[in-house]
Structures are given as structure tokens and as C-alpha cells.
């Protein structure tokens, strides 16, 4: 079954490349607008050799990791606070959904004014993108905990920090993972979007360089890399984490 699925995927991607090459060979558009798969591959290869690609990937991933870590920590804290304290939910909670609807890159102008063209500014945009998704899912998760779990834990003497770390967080964990999955994806968009505007290293910067040089291969190559990183992070980290948690919680 797994082999079959892999074969299907391989065939699909090969077909894309074949069609792409076919369109290129048909000479409908000039190569400066529509490059061949080979051109894009060559751009990636050069980038890998001179190290600029790795620097770009490394820089963007660093920013993502830093922003995501802050958002995950803050989002969990805020979500629990909202779920457990009625007043917090009625006040802060009411604007979280509104904040969530702001596209992460719309935070970039504010970040530039506050932090200048720095890493901190880009990380700020990433946090703004990821934080509210984690918050909302944590809130929902804590609200859906079987009240008997909390009563039983309190009955056995758990309170304060112990109640949070030993009951609330593990009980809400399946929801936290949903929050992480959404949060990192929003955060990743934030990183790339901010890098486009900040023009200060990273994959978004390399993408913008491609546009400035009218190098369409560079543009497509960077988009490809951004997408592949998305697939890898989701599949390698979050999908695995999710499977593990679902199995352990007996949800599957």
C-alpha cells in the first residue's frame, strides 16, 4: 500500500515535469518569462554550490524556529489563561479572533517601525502570525477537557502549576498540536512575507532578488524551496507528533 502510494506520487511529479518541459519546448512564452525545469534546477544547483541557498534556508528556518517557539509558549499560556479565567476570556479573548484575521505580513510595517530592518522585526511578524492560532486551539482544547479529569486531579491535590503541567496541557494536547500545525504554517508565511518586505536575508529576500533581476528561474526556485520546506516540516515534525499523540491518547 505504501509502495503503491509512493509510486503514484512519483508518477505525478514526473508528469508535472514532463508537461512543464513540453510547454517550455513548445515555445509559447519566451524563456525569460517561462523557464524550463532544467533552468530552475540549475539555479538551485548554483545556489547550493555558492552557499547562498543554504544561508537563505538557514536564516529563514532560524527565524521560523525562534518565532514559533515564542508563539507556542505564549499561545499556550494565553489560551489556558483565557479558558480558566472568565474575565480574561471576556476581555482579551474577544479580540483574539479579530487579531487572528490580520494577515501576518500586515504586521510588517509596524515591525519595521518598532524594530527596524532586523531579525527581531521579522521574528515579531512570525510570532504575530502564529500566536493566535496556538491561543485559540489551546483555549478550545482546555475548554473541551472532561471536567471530571480536572475534578479528579484537584481532588488528589493538584493545583496551580501542577494542575497546568500535569493535567491541563496533556489533556488538551491533541488540540495543541492542531494549534501548532496551523501556527507554524501561518508563521512560515509570516517569515517569507516579512523577508520580502524587509529585504534582509532569507528565502523571501532571495525571492525578491529574483524579481529585481527579472530572473524568473530564481523566483520559481525559491518558491519551490519554500514549498518543499513546508511539506517537510509538516510531514516530518507535525504529522509524526500528531500520529504519536493520537495513538497514545487512544484516539485512533
Amino acid at each position: 500500500m505504501k509502495v503503491k502510494s509512493l509510486a503514484k506520487k512519483t508518477a505525478f511529479y514526473l508528469a508535472i515535469i514532463v508537461v512543464w518541459q513540453g510547454l517550455y519546448s513548445a515555445n509559447i512564452w519566451p524563456p525569460s518569462i517561462f523557464p524550463s525545469p532544467y533552468n530552475v534546477g540549475q539555479t538551485l544547483w548554483y545556489g547550493a554550490i555558492d552557499g547562498s541557498l543554504w544561508l537563505g534556508i538557514g536564516t529563514s528556518l532560524w527565524r521560523l524556529a525562534a518565532g514559533f517557539a515564542i508563539a507556542a509558549f505564549g499561545g499556550i499560556a494565553l489560551g489556558i489563561f483565557m479558558a480558566r479565567v472568565q474575565t480574561v476570556n471576556e476581555t482579551i479573548g474577544s479580540i483574539i479572533l479579530g487579531l487572528q484575521s490580520i494577515p501576518s505580513v500586515a504586521w510588517a510595517p509596524l515591525a519595521i517601525i518598532w524594530f527596524g530592518l532586523t531579525d527581531a522585526g521579522i521574528i515579531f511578524v512570525t510570532v504575530a502570525g502564529a500566536l493566535f492560532a496556538v491561543t485559540i486551539n489551546t483555549y478550545t482544547g482546555v475548554k473541551s477537557i472532561n471536567p471530571d479529569y480536572i475534578a479528579a486531579a484537584q481532588n488528589m491535590g493538584a493545583k496551580g502549576e501542577q494542575l497546568i503541567t500535569k493535567v491541563l496541557i496533556p489533556a488538551a494536547f491533541p488540540y495543541l498540536i492542531t494549534g501548532f500545525k496551523q501556527g507554524w504554517a501561518f508563521g512560515w508565511r509570516g517569515v517569507v512575507g516579512a523577508e520580502l518586505l524587509f529585504s534582509f536575508l532569507g528565502l523571501g529576500f532571495l525571492l525578491n532578488i529574483g524579481r529585481q533581476l527579472s530572473d524568473v528561474s530564481q523566483v520559481l526556485a525559491m518558491m519551490l524551496v519554500i514549498m518543499i520546506i513546508g511539506i517537510v516540516i509538516d510531514g516530518l515534525i507535525f504529522k509524526r507528533l500528531e500520529d504519536k499523540v493520537m495513538a497514545r491518547w487512544g484516539l485512533r
Binding site: 472532561n146 471530571d148 479529569y149 484537584q154 488528589m156 493538584a158 500535569k166 496533556p170 497514545r248
Partner: protein
């Protein structure tokens, strides 16, 4: 001396924004080492009474005294066993059983010694490393009982713990529950909707009236253990309790 004393406990439910008097002044006493079963029509507030005794809810009037001190908050001296067990699905059986000990900061080797003893008593030793979803409902309730017993509470509060079990498993656990009580000499308050269960387990059966409920009668069950539900003497008791409950159930039906 009275271990636990309920003094005029009154509790209102919120019924679509209207206060509904559920407990209308509950008074009774539980002696040290008693096995007291509470029976009553559904919705009469017997489970609520248990939660008040556990300190998980507050009464609107009156108070419950434990060793002459009023109960104000929840604590491990009164451990509750929930109807659905309320076991933590993210923990293995052993970690579930040791949860309260860990909260109390008891070191690992000591925790293991204590949990081993109760896992053995509840015949759970070979499931120590299983997750709770891998167990049958009956096994899960054994884990819940073990988790309560490790805390060595003054009083064990059990809220219909066998209600979701099939008949065979329940019969087995009824026998074991009597042995646990005899072995540990715990004071137990046990809420049930099953009259036969109450006569098998309790040395006192407390019969609640319909809402706003008060105590209708307290019946001491005088019969040697181990008891079985079909014992002749117990059937006489069951008939008596049934007769007491019939008008209460009828009144409850008519109200809803």
C-alpha cells in the same frame, strides 16, 4: 464518634436560569469504618451530595463535618471514584495510580512500592504498563479504585462506579469491593441507583426522597459477608427499599 456528619445540606441547581432546590436539608452521620450506600430517584442530588463531601462543590446552606471540622475545600483525605473513572488517557496504568502520590512529592521508589501493593490487590499488575484505552471498562474501574486507595484517604467517595459495567463484571467487582472494604477498613460512601448493589455493599443504606430531597430512611443491613445479591435476607431488604423508593420515583416522573 462520627467520622462524617452532614448538617442540613441545601443545594440549588441552575435549571434554565431558575434556581431548583435539589437538596432540601440532608442530615445523617457516617461512623468510622462504615460502608454507607446512598440510593434515591434519579436527579435527587445524591451525586451532588457526594461532590459536596469531596469539596468539589459548595452547599448553599449547611455544612459537612469531617472529624468535627467543616469541609471547605477538596483534598486527598476524601478521594472520589468517578462513574466513568476519569482516568487520564495520556498516562499508563501505573502512572494513573501514582498520580496523587506524585503530586504529593513522594519519591519514585516509594511510589512504586505503594502502587505495586494496590495494583496487586486490584489484579492489575500485568497491566501496569498499558494505557487505559487498552483496558475493558471493568479493568478501568479497578484502576480508578486503585488510584483512590493509594492516597489512603479518610473516606472513599464512590459515585456509581459500577453503573457502566456489564452484569457479570459488576457481580465480580461487588465481591471484590466487599473484600477491599474488609481489608482496608476504609469508611466508604457509595452512591448507586441499584437497590441490590446497595444491599450487597452497604452496612447502611440511606434512602433519599425526591427533589428537594431529604433523607427518607436509613436502613442498617444486617447480614454476614461475603454477600450475594440473591441472598434471601438481602432480598427482603431490597423489597423494603423498593417500597420506600416507589412513591419517590413516581413523584419524580410526574414532575418532569
Amino acid at each position: 464518634m462520627a467520622k462524617l456528619e452532614a448538617k442540613n445540606i441545601v443545594k440549588y441547581f441552575d435549571h434554565d436560569g431558575q434556581p431548583l432546590k435539589a437538596l432540601g436539608g440532608i442530615n445523617f452521620t457516617v461512623e468510622e469504618g462504615d460502608f454507607v450506600c446512598l440510593v434515591g430517584p434519579s436527579g435527587c442530588g445524591k451525586s451532588t451530595f457526594l461532590r459536596i463531601a469531596a469539596g468539589l462543590q459548595k452547599p448553599d446552606e449547611g455544612q459537612i463535618l469531617l472529624d468535627n471540622r467543616p469541609i471547605t475545600k477538596t483534598g486527598p483525605d476524601r478521594i472520589m471514584v468517578f462513574q466513568e473513572g476519569a482516568l487520564f488517557p495520556w498516562l499508563k496504568v501505573r502512572d494513573n495510580v501514582e498520580f496523587g502520590l506524585k503530586i504529593a512529592g513522594i519519591p519514585e521508589t516509594e511510589r512504586h512500592q505503594i502502587s505495586d501493593r494496590y495494583l496487586d490487590m486490584m489484579q492489575l499488575s500485568k497491566f501496569a504498563n498499558s494505557y487505559t484505552y487498552q483496558l475493558s471498562t471493568g479493568m478501568r474501574q479497578r484502576v480508578a479504585i486503585a488510584r483512590a486507595l493509594v492516597m489512603d484517604p479518610e473516606i472513599l467517595l464512590m459515585d456509581e462506579p459500577f453503573a457502566a459495567l456489564d452484569a457479570q463484571t459488576r457481580d465480580l467487582l461487588l465481591v471484590e469491593m466487599q473484600m477491599i472494604w474488609q481489608k482496608t477498613k476504609k469508611t466508604i460512601i457509595f452512591v448507586t441507583h441499584s437497590i441490590s448493589e446497595s444491599t450487597v455493599l452497604g452496612n447502611k443504606v440511606v434512602v433519599f426522597t425526591h427533589r428537594p430531597s431529604t433523607i427518607k430512611k436509613i436502613i442498617p443491613i444486617d447480614h454476614p459477608r461475603p454477600r450475594l445479591a440473591e441472598d434471601e435476607t438481602l432480598i427482603q431488604y431490597q423489597k423494603e427499599i423498593s417500597a420506600l423508593l416507589r412513591p419517590e420515583v413516581k413523584a419524580t416522573e410526574e414532575k418532569s
